[in-house]
């Protein structure tokens, strides 16, 4: 039975659940966002926008929860055999990923607020706007939102590539310890 909390060398099921939920959420949201901006104006386009916004706000809450969970848990150490520059690269990538996970939904929230559009998360709860109506603010937030998209693309290539390298090339437990398969680990 996997631990809910982290241990010194393994992510607990709490951290794993948050990691994979957010991973699916980010991938879905990025694809959705890319598709919806290129669609011609239609009801479907706006339904995608509504879903994208709801998903983004959900991810913002999940990332907040994840950071808290990280703070109240031990962080499993990187493998001891890792050269220091690789350890630095891994830590920096993770920090940047966390930063983008906040900036992405927040900049989207600002875009929506600056357009003075309402934001109702999954039709369940309406959240207030962050900034007053302003096309200038909306424009800046849009640029940030797009830049963060490309930032994510670069970081995720590094993150996923790194995890696969650890698993298939270095043959260590870095990827496995984020997978729900404690029993099979030796």
């Amino acid at each position: 039975m996997a631990n809910f909390r982290n241990t010194a060398d393994r992510w607990g099921s709490g951290a794993q659940l948050l990691h994979w939920l957010i991973a699916i959420g980010i991938a879905t949201s990025m694809i959705m966002g890319w598709v919806m901006v290129y669609l011609p104006v239609s009801a479907f386009k706006f339904e995608l926008y509504a879903l994208h916004k709801s998903l983004g706000m959900t991810l913002l809450a999940l990332v907040g929860l994840r950071l808290v969970w990280r703070w109240v848990n031990i962080t499993p150490a990187l493998p001891a055999h890792l050269p220091s520059h690789e350890a630095w690269l891994a830590k920096t990538t993770h920090r940047l990923l966390y930063a983008l996970m906040f900036v992405m939904p927040l900049s989207g929230y600002v875009i929506n607020s600056a357009a003075n559009f309402p934001l109702n998360v999954f039709g369940l709860v309406q959240i207030p706007n962050l900034v007053p109506e302003s096309e200038a603010i909306g424009d800046v937030a849009s640029r940030i939102h797009l830049a963060v998209f490309w930032g994510f693309v670069v970081l995720l290539i590094g993150h996923i590539g790194g995890a696969l390298r650890h698993h298939f090339v270095l043959r260590d437990a870095v990827l496995r310890r984020m997978l729900p398969s404690a029993e099979r680990e030796r």
Partner: protein, 182 residues
């Protein structure tokens, strides 16, 4: 002509009660003709320009009535992005239908106020709309408040893809809050 007017004046003098329905002027600074709609969440808007001929007296409902002309092009939903869509043909089609109208010749007393039985015309589509309202007169000023839900689709507001209620809800609450003087 003169004789007719005198006859009319006499007839009115005989039949009209002491408090005849007065013509009230809208104080636009303190009045609002607004609405509440839903587009992935609730938002509010208003028409900044309208004229209203308001005849009303509590004890002369028979001669009370409203005649409102709304400058549709003065619509303001507080979002430039949204307001840029509204003049287009799928929405209000400003070029073809710059005005909307509400006319009520029958005003009735209800349990908690009054109701105006009238007709609303938007984009040349006319449908009956009964507007419940309250009216409080204080000397020569008055406050009239009312609201009613209308179905935007019946008036052709939001056509094509916009008829989908999951994007913009069909029900729109029209909110009238007028300060008047005579």
């Amino acid at each position: 002509m003169r004789r007719r007017l005198i006859t009319l004046a006499l007839a009115l003098a005989v039949t009209t009660p002491a408090q005849a329905a007065s013509n009230w002027q809208v104080n636009h600074e303190e009045s609002r003709l607004g609405f509440q709609a839903d587009q992935n969440g609730r938002f509010e808007g208003q028409f900044n320009r309208f004229t209203a001929a308001m005849r009303f007296a509590q004890d002369d409902l028979a001669n009370s009535g409203f005649d409102v002309e709304i400058d549709v092009t003065s619509i303001d939903t507080g979002s430039q992005k949204r307001d840029r869509e509204l003049p287009k043909s799928d929405w209000f089609n400003f070029d073809a239908f710059p005005k909307a109208y509400y006319t009520a010749e029958t005003i009735r007393q209800t349990d908690d106020g009054y109701e105006a039985v009238g007709e609303l015309t938007i984009r040349d589509n006319t449908h009956p709309v009964t507007l419940p309202f309250t009216w409080e007169t204080t000397g020569d000023t008055a406050r009239m408040k009312g609201d009613v839900v209308i179905d935007r689709i019946r008036y052709g507001i939001g056509q094509g893809d916009w008829t989908d209620p999951s994007v913009v809800a069909h029900d729109v609450r029209v909110i009238v809050d007028l300060t008047l003087s005579r």
